[in-house]
Symmetry: C2
Subunit: 167 residues, 2 copies
DNA sequence: AGCTATTGAGTTGTGCACAATTTAATTGTG
DNA sequence: CACAATTAAATTGTGCACAACTCAATAGCT
């Protein structure tokens, strides 16, 4: 009841957007919640677990490299890594060659954690009720979507050129 | 190289988990980023937009009802609604019948915002490069997944019964 | 009526995300 | 060599998510 002659009415489109927004938001939080519950045993949060995963996979890494892999900036990583250090799972050391860089490496406790973490994926799979294939499929879709979103030039349409095309 | 004889080795499973974790996390953040950029024009954050969407759709709602619809608790909503009120988009008023309840209703400015918000979904669709159908499909998958995750009894397996089935 | 239990918002504290800024180290260039 | 530009972390400030708790109002029960 706003304008819009032939196309879907605004109210309809906004309703759809609400569904999409909400689904994404809710799914993200639901996953976070499941990981939180499962990771509580390990004493890790979800982002901390992500950091440990890349460290287990690649060994010592600089803050910059971790950030590049997880697409997290220092504003997020610096305090997170301090907490991981306080928990005794990693150590941070200024690099000798380049004093700007900080190298993060897992401690013995951090490495030991990997054994227990091996159980996490199975529990996640059980919680989702999805097969590994289905999970892989979802993951692929999400990756493609993320790539598009990250690459999207939002300046295409600064709310002006696209403004009221039907008005 | 940890244990695991016939099944996928732990390292492999953890690598897969890293991919899934990361994809979800990254997708969620990428979407958030796109919405953030688009909503900046309206002066809203992504969760604030979600709240306005349900208010536009249903009119005045109690904090409790908004929370039920968006699955957000008062710890998140109370400060968020205060900010929306400070922005002049909603008003909060203690209900007369039940003094515990607070009713939130859009102001004139909040209602006016709806017109401008009508452009948001199209811009999102453009950024994703997906058709409305594809978006709908993704949304449906995510909703089902969320339902499963929210309903999942994580106590099934408190990291003990499932522990080292192959060890 | 009187008392307990429950309910709806709000508050507090922790952690993450992100923008913007700061600091120190390094690189590049004249 | 000196100086400007760049780079890597860290810091600051805002907002969201969630757990745990408080507080006042209501509902339910005897």
């Amino acid at each position: 009841m706003t304008t819009t002659p032939d196309a879907a009415p605004d109210a309809e489109i906004l309703r759809l957007d609400r569904q999409i927004c909400f689904s994404l938001h809710a799914a993200s939080r639901a996953f976070n919640g499941v990981y939180r519950a499962i990771l509580k045993d390990l004493g890790l949060t979800y982002p901390q677990y992500l950091v440990m995963l890349v460290l287990w996979e690649h060994g010592d890494l600089s803050v910059k490299t971790i950030g590049a892999r997880l697409r997290l900036d220092s504003g997020t990583l610096s305090p997170l890594l301090k907490r991981l250090e306080a928990l005794g799972f990693v150590e941070r050391r200024r690099s000798a060659e380049d004093e700007r860089s900080v190298t993060v490496h897992p401690t013995a406790a951090g490495t030991a954690l990997r054994e227990r973490a091996a159980l996490v994926p199975r529990r996640i799979a059980a919680a989702t009720g999805l097969s590994l294939e289905e999970i892989g499929d979802l993951q692929e879709r999400l990756s493609m979507l993320t790539a598009k979103l990250d690459g999207a030039d939002l300046d295409l349409d600064p709310l002006g050129s696209c403004a009221d095309p039907e008005d």
